[in-house]
Structures are given as structure tokens and as C-alpha cells.
Amino acid sequence: MQINVDRTKCDNHGQCTFSAPTVFRLDEQGILQHETTADESLRHDVEEAADVCPAQAITVTD
């Protein structure tokens, strides 16, 4: 599973970190850092993160 965050849309609100905290996190400056791939077992959490993103900046592809 590939994870892409459109940095022109992402506004670092951090809602994604609630759904998939092992994939998305805010660094000390409050900037979103994320894994670019994740295990299939995390699909539900990562897709939820994409669904709830206020800026709809996250896309998940196979």
C-alpha cells in the first residue's frame, strides 16, 4: 500500500495521526511526517486517515 500526501493541500492539522499513529505523526515543528508505504494490515486505519483529513490531502494506492 502506497501513501501519498499532497503537500500543497496538507495544512498539518494532524487529524490523520489519530487514525493511524504509526504511519502519520507531527514532528516537533508541528509538520506532518509520514511513511510512504504501510503493511496491508494497516489499510483500514490509513484509509480512515485519508477519509477524515480536513484538507483531503491523503491518497492511498495499491
Binding site: D11, N12, H13, Q15, T17, F18, S19, D51, P54
Partner: protein, 397 residues
């Protein structure tokens, strides 16, 4: 504080204080923050964007009851346990369980019903050539949208509107003297919410309450009281804000008739039309945070406990971020903070964005030549604003 620049001062509790004023624009041109009688106000977009999400600030409403002499009781317990003021792991857990129910894919099935509602309300006044916008459109629309979402019979909307408005008194500085009626209303709303939850646990529906009853993350779910608290917050936070924002929105387009005509011709711009009123004329004129620790940010020294207000309309019309800040529903814009931001970003923003776009479409497709047709009354410009009474005349199209 080491700075060569004088820091402006704004008296934000003065009843004549206005966000849309030369004094506030001059303060924003002078410096990125101002001192106020409540603490600090952040004025420029760049700094609102950065500081609003700063982890050294917490949501600023937690101590509201205490600040107003209320230290226990039904309202106190609800307020201090609701998502709005929770922080840290307690907040993240509840937020995670609530968030998916408000995602666009869950809202899609409700949109045709919002459209039918908007058209019904417009049909009721369209032949009269005028309406009192709050009573005849904004309040019934905002409340019935909530009824549709929660699976409450739409005929019960006046009760829901009354309870939400009464609990809204709790946001006023007269909280202590209003506490009796606020708690009666909250108790009645608790009963409503508890019945809804019990019913959806027994009979699945196609509403948001059913989605929340079933919400589950890694084996965790909302308890009945957590769900009840959340539903009350949703009704309390979802009705007034949408009603007020629609009133502010229609005023913005009344003053920008070319944009209104553009929207009527291009309903596909309705989402932008909502963003533009949220940016330039938001109901939530400031978003409140409170410093948890002492820290320095550039030339601003913040001490723990300081209130920090993020001025949404002022930052949303900052010429540094928006070189042509006037309403333009065709423009591409950087994000505004009319829905707040960070961990406490408005939970219901996808609902609000969708239902207001539908409302503006339904209104603009039937009404032109908007004008004020009587005496209008407005809430003050501090915190949450909007029209109390807004008579509008129009020509039918």
C-alpha cells in the same frame, strides 16, 4: 520582549469593537499580534497558520464555567468532559471514534435530502418577495439538517432549536444567572440523546447516530455517556453556527451582487462561495487557545495561562496571504481558519461546507436583487457573531 515595533492594543470587550474596522486593519499592518484586554490576538495569516496548531497551546474554553463562577453541576460536568475541551489521549481517543462518521463518504447519502429541504423552505417564501432570513430560512434549515443527520423527525425541529439556543446562553458572560435554564435545557437534551441512542442500539437506522453507535477502533468504542455528550455537543455546536454563518453569508452576497449572479449562473462554484464567506465573514470571529507553558515566539513572550485569540476574519483578509482579499468565488485561495485548526479543527466542517453550499445554491437560483427591507439586528462582533433578525427583500427569478 525585544522589539523595535510598537505592539498595538485592541479593546475587544468594547461593545462597539468591530473586526471589519480600520483600527483592526491598522493593527494588522503594524504588527503580527496585538495585546487585548483578554490576552493576545494573532492578526496575520502566516502566524495564525503556524501558532494555531502549536502543541504548547490548548483549547481555551475549558475553564469557561470556572471563570464565570460555575464549579459543579450538570452543565459543568458536561462541558468539562466534552470533546471541545478535552486534551491529550482522552481527546484523541474520542476524536478518533467520532471523526469517520463526519467524513464525506458518510455524508453523501444525506445531500439529496438537504437539497429537498432547501428547496421546500425557499418555495414557502419565494412568492412573497421578502423574508426574515433567520426565522424563515437559516434557523429551520440549520436545525432540520441536524434532524436529518441524527434521524430525529423533522417536525421536532422547533424543540431542538429551542434547546440548542438555550444551551447557547452558556457562552454568554451571564452564565451564572442563566445556569438554571441552561441546565433544564441540557437535561431535556440528554433525555433526547439517550432515547436516540437506545433506539439505534435496538434498531439500526441509516443515520449518524447509528454510525456512532457502531463506531469502533481496535476494539474500543464510545460508552453511552460519551456518545450522549457528543450528540449534545453536536446539536449545541452545529445549529447556532450554521444559522449564523448563513446569515453572514447572505449579507456578504447582498453587498456583492456580481458574485451572487455569478453563483446563480455557475452553481458548481457553490463550494467556493462557502469558502469565501467563511474566509471574509466568519461567524467564529476568533478561535481561542490558552498557553500551557511559558514560551517565546519571535518577539512575543507568552506565559502559561495566557489567552491567545486567533482572529479568523482578520487573518482571512490579510493582504500578505490574499493580495485581492475581496470575495471572489472563482479565485484559488490558501486555507482560511474559519473552522479553527489543528487537533481541535471543527468536527462538523464537512457537513457545514456541504449544507451551506446547497443552501446558497437553492437561494441564488431563485432570488436576485437582494436588499435589506427592514430593521436588522446583530450579535456583537466578539467570539460568535451573526444576525438575530435580518429582513431581506428580493426579486424572484
Amino acid at each position: 520582549m525585544s522589539t523595535d515595533v510598537a505592539v498595538p492594543y485592541l479593546d475587544i470587550s468594547d461593545p462597539s469593537f468591530a473586526m471589519h474596522s480600520e483600527a483592526v486593519r491598522a493593527a494588522r499592518a503594524q504588527h503580527w499580534f496585538a495585546r487585548t484586554n483578554y490576552g493576545v490576538a494573532i492578526l496575520r495569516h502566516e502566524y495564525v497558520s503556524k501558532l494555531l496548531k502549536d502543541p504548547r497551546l490548548r483549547q481555551g474554553s475549558g475553564k469557561w464555567p470556572d471563570h464565570n463562577g460555575v464549579h459543579s453541576g450538570l452543565f459543568y460536568d458536561w462541558w468539562t468532559q466534552c470533546l471541545l475541551v478535552l486534551e491529550g489521549d482522552d481527546h484523541h481517543r474520542i476524536r478518533r471514534l467520532l471523526n469517520p462518521a463526519f467524513a464525506p463518504k458518510h455524508l453523501e447519502p444525506f445531500l439529496p435530502r438537504f437539497e429537498a429541504l432547501a428547496r421546500e423552505l425557499v418555495n414557502d417564501f419565494i412568492d412573497k418577495g421578502e423574508l426574515e432570513f433567520v426565522n424563515d430560512f437559516a434557523e429551520p434549515y440549520a436545525t432540520r439538517v441536524l434532524c436529518i443527520l441524527l434521524g430525529i423527525p423533522e417536525s421536532e425541529w422547533p424543540t431542538i432549536a429551542r434547546l440548542a439556543s438555550t444551551i447557547g446562553l452558556a457562552l454568554g458572560v451571564t452564565l451564572k444567572q442563566d445556569l438554571g435554564v441552561v441546565e433544564d435545557a441540557l437535561e431535556e437534551l440528554y433525555g433526547y440523546a439517550e432515547n436516540l441512542i437506545a433506539d439505534r442500539q435496538a434498531n439500526r437506522g441509516d443515520d449518524l447516530v447509528t454510525t456512532l453507535v457502531q463506531a469502533n477502533a481496535n476494539g474500543d468504542s464510545l460508552s453511552d455517556s460519551e456518545l450522549r455528550n457528543a450528540l449534545c455537543l453536536l446539536i449545541f455546536g452545529g445549529m447556532d453556527t450554521t444559522r449564523n454563518q448563513l446569515g453572514l453569508g447572505i449579507m456578504s452576497y447582498l453587498h456583492n451582487p456580481d458574485q451572487w449572479e455569478l453563483l446563480a449562473k455557475h452553481p458548481e462554484l457553490a463550494r467556493n462561495a462557502v469558502e469565501e464567506i467563511m474566509r471574509t465573514n466568519p461567524t467564529t470571529t476568533w478561535v481561542t487557545r490558552e498557553a500551557m507553558v511559558d514560551f517565546d515566539y519571535e518577539d512575543l513572550r507568552v506565559t502559561a495561562g495566557t489567552t491567545v485569540h486567533f482572529f479568523t476574519q482578520v487573518s482571512g483578509t490579510d493582504p500578505e496571504a490574499y493580495p485581492n482579499p475581496e470575495i471572489d468565488i472563482t479565485a484559488e485561495r490558501v486555507p482560511h481558519y474559519g473552522f479553527g485548526g489543528g487537533m481541535h479543527h471543527c468536527l462538523g466542517h464537512f457537513v457545514a461546507r456541504a449544507d451551506m453550499a446547497i443552501a446558497l445554491t437553492a437561494l441564488s437560483e431563485r432570488m436576485t436583487n437582494l436588499r435589506i427591507s427592514g430593521k436588522d439586528e446583530w450579535l456583537p462582533d466578539s467570539g460568535n457573531t451573526g444576525p438575530v433578525r435580518l429582513p431581506i427583500g428580493f426579486d424572484k427569478r
